[in-house]
């Protein structure tokens, strides 16, 4: 569990990059961090594992203040995946790179080898171990970067825009991997991102930042219902929510809620159609299934 209390920070001592941030990441939670370029997402993440030290305010890890921990203790518990995998991969081969953190933790060579193979398997990089880093594709690099963090088995992972510059297939497979880890091993995740289409599908909670402050937070459905707030944070609505908003405002159609996933949108539309078309109502309603979005990302 990570918590910040009135956390403020400025890089140069005058213009604040973070202002009075109060945030709590609970165990096993998947939290999304949204906000415009330069609003302070990366800066905030770097405070959560002590890479940056607050100008004022405090950060707690499991109820104890972060600065009372030794560096190693923090980094074993809190992993971080950086925005650019090229920054993060410094080994000569994939195996060497993934092993970097584990070796530093002082494991024995055979344990290191086992862990390395295991996590590479997990991220779908079983065939990669002996490849040189610079021959990997971007998506592969991203997976290896995540593997290197997983190898250290942290309870919490901080992810800085893990999907930028990836192709849609890559985005969806990385996100599925992350969700699986979150659900199965209970790893808490906090993910900074610009992708408003993706967030609702994966996160338990959304935090929106603007200008160094947290301006709103809550479950995706609630946060995206406040359109003015979204606009203020230089974001946009997910496409489907936007469609429904237009239909509501311009055409006066009655919707029950703002849908964020394809599953939700489908339900909304079907129930709308049902209420309108008396003669075919029964035929359609039998089709309505409520479920997770299938291959949605």
């Amino acid at each position: 569990m990570i918590k910040t209390e009135a956390l403020s920070f400025s890089y140069d001592g005058c213009t604040p990059a973070l202002r009075e941030i109060n945030l709590e990441l609970r165990d096993g939670e998947f939290l999304a961090l949204l906000g415009a370029n330069g609003c302070g997402k990366t800066t905030l993440l770097k405070h959560l594992n002590g890479l940056l030290k607050p100008s004022s305010g405090r950060v707690f890890l499991n109820g104890k203040e972060l600065r009372s921990y030794k560096d190693e203790e923090i980094f074993k518990q809190v992993g971080m995946v950086f925005q650019d995998p090229n920054d993060q991969l410094f080994g000569a081969t994939v195996r060497q790179d993934v092993a970097f953190g584990v070796v530093n933790m002082g494991l024995k060579p055979d344990e290191v080898a086992r862990t390395t193979d295991e996590v590479l398997q997990l991220v779908g990089g079983a065939g990669l171990p002996d490849k040189a880093i610079h021959t990997l594709s971007f998506g592969q690099k991203r997976r290896v970067a995540i593997a290197g963090v997983l190898a250290m088995a942290p309870k919490t992972i901080l992810l800085d825009e893990p999907t930028s510059s990836l192709d849609p297939r890559g985005v969806s497979s990385i996100m599925r991997l992350l969700r699986k880890l979150n659900k199965e091993s209970g790893t808490a995740m906090i993910m900074a991102t610009h992708d408003v289409e993706l967030v609702p599908l994966f996160s338990d909670r959304v935090v929106i930042m603007s200008n160094g402050r947290i301006i709103t937070e809550g479950p995706p459905g609630k946060v995206f219902a406040d359109i003015d707030m979204i606009r203020k944070a230089e974001l946009r609505l997910p496409r489907l929510a936007h469609l429904v908003e237009v239909l509501q405002k311009e055409d006066g159609l009655p919707f029950m809620s703002t849908p964020l996933t394809i599953g939700q949108a489908r339900r909304e539309l079907l129930s709308l159609l049902e209420s309108r078309s008396y003669q075919k109502a029964e035929g359609i309603s039998s089709h309505v299934r409520i479920g997770e979005p299938a291959d949605d990302t």
Binding site: A92, A132, H134
Partner: protein, 265 residues
Amino acid sequence: MLNKGAHWFRTHIALALALALGLLFLYPAPVYAMHIAEGILPANWAAVWYVPAILFVVIGILIIRRKTREVRGIMPLLGIAGAAIFLVSVFPVPVPVTGSCSHPVGTPLGAILVGPFISTVLGAVALLIQALFLAHGGISTWGANIVSMALVGSFVGFGAFVVFRKLNATIFVAAFAAGLFGDWATYATTSFELASALHGAGSLWGMFGAITVAFAPTQLPLGILEGLFTGGVVTLVYQRRPELLSRIIPNVFKPVPSAIEGGSK
């Protein structure tokens, strides 16, 4: 003269050592001991050091100018290499015993990567930027600093690297030697520059000795660190992209191809 200096040195050695130890604990964490600050050298000595500095920098510039005609992409390459050398020379390298940090000279590494003359020019650029924007070094002492750090560092480092490679040393050992001797030579030159300007009526060698000893506790280990650092960097570059190194010094990398295990290409 030398004898007298040696005698003088013996009688003052306790003082020098005391000074050195005292300073070691007075140093602020990052040490830039090797940049001679603005105003320390008197005008005539400052001018003297400008002569070799300008000479070598001009030769370097002429080489670069010739190369710009052959290889059009050389300017951005050198610009970015210069930035890399600048940053390497402000790398905080942890010093084991004191727990503080110090900084490599960087030019021995630069010389291995781009050749000694061009490395001198890049070193001069880095020194100018440091002098102007970080107040490390100075304008009147720019010449002296170019000579000790850019010129001597580049040429001694490069020479050591070539000699050790000729002796069939591994890449790591040769680059280690380059870093070590380049760094120590820089330190000796700086001490000499300070001593020659400041000894006044006293003995030049005595003053040289005193300054050398005063800075020895940080500079001797720093040479070893610079050696380790240079060795590590060059080895890594060689493992990953051998073609980058052989582009600069074609023959030096050929003799012992198996010296480094596990190149990735």
